[in-house]
């Protein structure tokens, strides 16, 4: 795969985090991805989470619950992650459009079982994720957990190609 995935993670322990919470509609008037950078997760109200914290700013990975990215089709929700250095989201499940947008941008949307997400959250909130192929190593609180995830071949090919535009422009 082209990109390197993984890095320090932030935990968003709630189901149904929607795209309005990831990037509010009022910023959709921006015509560049870079301009979205300061507004990541601005409207997300979650105990202990501060979108302006250094931790959030330095994250490479988001670990979260079910139905992540529901709501609007705005790819701005993926771009705001991309420009902030987030390269993958690990969740119990995703809303379809958000998941597709991630792969279309060459980023990883990884699904793990609820029990697996529970075990990751139990490591505390100082987490680091390492990715090798479809294997994950999550470190936190002096412990280390291994997981493996499934990646549909087509999604894998999109990520390898660097996104859907690159893939489609070559093939169709």
């Amino acid at each position: 795969m082209k990109k390197r995935f993984g890095g320090p993670a932030i935990c968003l322990d709630r189901n149904d985090i929607n795209t309005d919470e990831i990037i509010p509609a009022k910023y959709l008037t921006e015509n560049s991805k870079e301009a979205l950078k300061p507004f990541m997760l601005e409207d997300l109200k979650l105990e202990g989470f501060d979108c302006a914290s250094e931790k959030a700013r330095n994250a490479g990975v988001i670990v979260t619950r079910a139905n992540f990215g529901c709501g609007s089709s705005r790819e701005h929700a993926v771009w705001v992650f991309e420009v902030n250095g987030i390269n993958m989201v690990i969740a119990e499940s995703f809303a379809r459009i958000f998941r597709q947008n991630m792969f279309n941008c060459g980023l990883l949307a990884v699904e793990l079982k609820k029990e697996e997400i529970d075990r990751i959250f139990a490591l505390g909130d100082d987490l680091d994720v390492e990715v090798a192929g479809t294997d994950l190593k999550v470190r936190g609180g002096g412990r280390e957990l291994d997981f493996s995830f499934k990646l549909n071949q087509f999604d894998h090919d999109l990520v390898t190609a660097g996104g859907w535009l690159e893939y489609a422009n070559r093939k169709y």
Partner: protein
């Protein structure tokens, strides 16, 4: 094993099957608006790929913020406008002829049974009301759609939603879909197509079917879909009259898309609507729904009538059943945004606009505006809106604002009472 309508549409449009689980479909229509398209256009220009696969299959509207409210939205409009001109896209709707995309494009006859449609907008599922496969997509999918006329999807799985019984007076498609979302939850239909079936759907107008399909995405659905029938053919007749000798012929032709009796469904959901009462959302998710009676007395600051869910002529007619001869309650403000110029015109001719004005409503031009908290009625911190739209997310209509989703009739009742209330006692 038979096939569902979605499977039939997919099979008729396959360009490529990259894996057994994924297909790349040829597209019949690619729709564009000024919020999600400009970045795709800029990117195509930067890559030296400033082309479109077929200018006749691309439909473009400026609708979210129009007329532009500031330099940024003016720039978005200009990028879209210049591009439509440059690419010879004839179906481009600008100030004066524009309206909310999912209300305007159906009116123009752009969607037909069996079509594949994408747009960079989650409520594209609305167009499934015509027996089309219509899905909201992100900007990259849109960009590839514009350039190559294709889009990738996983193979469709369909959830069959059976609606039986008879809708009581004062209860509408909006109440039905809110109830369905409540039961299914906001992810109950994720990665699935919601096929609306049964006598209730058969009896519905195209407007009502669009309201049903519009909110499929709020249950996570890829698309809502109705089987195309005589109602569909009659609605589309001005546009398909040259393709068929008679309406009967069109109806018979549409039937080839119908799901087979032994089609394979992923699940079924049954709802008898006969005892349904008006439904209202109470929280920040569209599945947080209660009977209106449980919400009785909740004070509101603003009423918003409009949007791709409920800004059509049928909706305004229903609202007037309550508004006629009544006034907005003290301290409550009302905003009506007819969804399209045609709706606006019909509402004027029928005297509907006059009733809204007499009640004290502000009538805006056709636009999304307040629905997504961009213009024309943004809420202040702590304010509450009774809204005919489709999304009640925290901050949706303005930071710190609260949105209660409901039918036009229930919103009209809130307008004259100043609080959420059962509209049925107010019907004449």
């Amino acid at each position: 094993m038979g096939k569902t309508i979605a499977q039939k549409i997919f099979e008729a449009h396959i360009r490529d099957t990259p894996t057994p689980a994924n297909v790349v479909l040829d597209l019949d229509v690619v729709m564009c608006h000024e919020i999600t398209t400009p970045i795709a256009i800029n990117d195509l220009v930067e890559r030296g790929l400033d082309r479109v696969f077929d200018p006749n299959k691309i439909k473009v509207v400026i609708d979210h913020v129009t007329p532009s409210k500031d330099s940024k939205t003016a720039t978005q409009a200009k990028i879209l406008r210049d591009w439509a001109r440059r690419q010879n896209i004839r179906d481009f709707f600008d100030v004066g002829s524009n309206g909310v995309c999912h209300a305007l494009f159906p009116e123009k006859g752009f969607v037909r049974p069996g079509y594949t449609v994408i747009m960079g907008d989650s409520h594209t599922c609305t167009h499934g009301a015509f027996g089309a496969f219509a899905a909201g997509v992100g900007t990259t999918d849109l960009e590839v759609g514009i350039l190559k006329g294709v889009c990738s999807f996983r193979l469709p799985e369909t959830l069959r939603i059976n609606l039986t019984g008879t809708l009581p007076d004062g209860v509408y498609a909006k109440d039905v879909i809110l109830r369905i979302i409540k039961e299914l939850t906001v992810h109950g239909a994720t990665d699935k197509i919601m096929e609306f079936r049964g006598p209730v759907v058969d009896a519905m107008s195209m407007e009502s079917r669009m309201t049903l399909c519009n909110m499929a995405i709020e249950a996570g659905g890829t698309c809502g879909i109705c089987l195309p029938d005589r109602v569909t053919a009659e609605y589309l007749w001005p546009f398909i009259g040259s393709d068929y000798a008679t309406i009967d012929e069109a109806v018979a032709d549409f039937a080839r898309w119908h799901s087979d009796p032994d089609a394979d469904y992923r699940g079924e959901f049954n709802l008898d609507v006969s005892a349904l009462v008006p439904q209202v959302t109470y929280g920040y998710k569209p599945d947080e729904v209660k009977d209106v009676t449980e919400m009785e007395g909740t004070p509101v600051d603003q009423i918003y009538m409009g949007s791709c869910t409920n800004g059509r002529i049928e909706d305004l007619r229903e609202a007037v059943r309550v508004l006629k001869g009544r006034k907005l309650a003290d301290g409550v403000r009302g905003i009506l945004s007819p969804a399209t110029p045609k709706v606006y015109n019909e509402a004027l001719t029928e005297g509907i606009i006059q009733h809204f004005l007499a009640a004290g409503f502000c009538v805006t031009n056709p636009t999304c505006g307040a629905c997504l908290g961009m213009s024309n009625g943004v809420l202040a911190e702590g304010e509450v809106c009774a809204s005919t739209t489709n999304r009640n997310f925290n901050g949706r209509m303005g930071k710190g604002g609260m949105v209660h989703l409901m039918s036009p009739l229930t919103a009209a009742a809130a307008a004259v009472k100043g609080y959420i209330t059962d509209p049925r006692p107010l019907l004449d």
